[in-house]
Amino acid sequence: MSSAAPPANIADGPDTVLREEVRTAGMVWLRELIRFERTRARILSGLVQPVLFLVVLGYGMSGLVGTTAGFDFKKFMFPGIMAMSVVTTAIFSGMSIVWDREFGFLREMLVAPTSRASLALGKTAGGATVAAAQGTIMLILAPLIGVHLTALLVLEIIGLELLMAIALTAFGVFVATHIQKMEGFQVVMQLLLFPMIFLSGALFPLNGLPGWLGVLTHVNPLTYAVAPLRQVVFAAQDMPAAARQRFPASVELFGHTLSIGTEIAIVVVFAGIFIALAIRGFSRME
């Protein structure tokens, strides 16, 4: 190293700093993608659970609920199952910080002379990309269920999945920054993830739930993320009015039916809050 260059000399101009922070976030993002791509087994196992839900629950319920004007329960479930797949992957990715801590790599990141916000944002972006990808893979099941896809619909789905994934990954990052041990991870998955999914309308319509459960569904950020996904999917289907009546897609709040724009805005607000919490959590670690 006799010809070693001097230490990376940092001219601390505001745009240099910004460029370097973006570069850092980009690298953290890339790492998530590389790790996702290298664990094909995880991608596959990520497919198994939703497929199981769709097949077992979907077919079982279809038999019970019956078909309304040619529209069955599986089609209702399909967007919800996609959402479930996105959410599970997103929270899992965000919480992989617990693994990073366990295996030491977190220290390499925390000790670096970079802002913690870039690390938190990179991790969130990476996890969200992976989660949206996992959700989008589910689209290969659409023809089996009889869900009709258009190019526009696919784009809408990817966009909504990304938004949902960003919110949930940030949430996962936030939770993970407050967890010291691996056991905590299991607790969070059981106590938070599954109730969130069941109370989001992903797997069955929320109308007709008792009042207190209704309250829970309405404070659940996932409720507002699942609804738009279902709305865009339904909008692209040839769906008679009777079926729309039977399987409502929008969220009812205080007697009003929320518009898709409002629902998306609510998810954006949740995402903003979770990102802020994730950054704060990251900044306070160790």
Binding site: M1, A4, I10, G26, M27, R31, E108, L110, A112
Partner: protein, 342 residues
Amino acid sequence: MASTVSSDARVDVAASPPRPNVIEVRDLTRRFGEFTAVDGISFDVREGEVFAFLGPNGAGKSTTINMLCTLARPTSGHASVAGFDVAARPKAVRRHIGLVFQEPTLDDQLTAQENLRFHAVLYRIPSDEVNERVARVLDLVDLSDRRYDRVSEFSGGMARRLEIARALMHVPGVLFLDEPTIGLDPQTRALMWEDVLRLREEANVTVFLTTHYMDEAEYADRIAIIDHGAIVAIDTPQALKATIGADTVDLQTTDDVAAVAAARRNGYRVEAGADGVRVFVEHGETAVAPLIAAVGVPVLHVHVHQPTLDDVFLHYTGREIRESHAEAMSPRVRAFTRARRR
């Protein structure tokens, strides 16, 4: 700024002007609740020096490193690294140091190159220099042929060397190594020391390390022995050994009584023991021939003992380092292999 490593500066041990201090520590203290892990330590490390912290388990070595690396805040006292106060300018400090933690911190799903590239970005190495630096540090630790291999396929020793290479990516002024060779075989340890000493020579890097291995501490220019959070001795290995006494030559002769008398007459400092004669001399090895001539009776057996760091350690801490080391070794090696296995 003391730490800036100028490319052509070479360590010249005989250089007359005193080198500046790269690490300055004054009354540094760290408490965990009631417990004082580091208890008011003070010391300086000069530029280009290899400085070793030697101490039993729980002595406070890692805690000290963590404070110097700005990962832990001092409860009281001051420390500066590379000219920056660790409490006031943590980011500046981090930019100028390289770190190898006691526990492994690689992502073993990534390849060697990917781990290094990640580090390069974290430390703001200009994009157009990254490739060249990756090649250079891998070459330095003899891992060039494993550049595209995943770390999960590395042996523990290779992974450790990769961590050292990574710590050098951003050409740090100071390199902190917390038990860098724990769990490695002697050959790999020797290889790693070659790397470290080459670095000091070629890039004038200051090295601060902790170790359990006595032979390893011998490589250091200076050693601080730390026990219960306090520095109990600090000096060069030679000086430390000298403080606990001279070399000894143990003789067994056909007539020990006569031998003692003869040696005394010739001006030797002698002790008669149950199983022989102990003579205290300046240099054990060169003293043997004249001594044998001086005792005047046939000599059956000669044993020369020079004080070792083991003796020094025992003297200052009241323990053999091997005792504390043996218990330390297993959990950490387990942690290390567990991480490797992932």
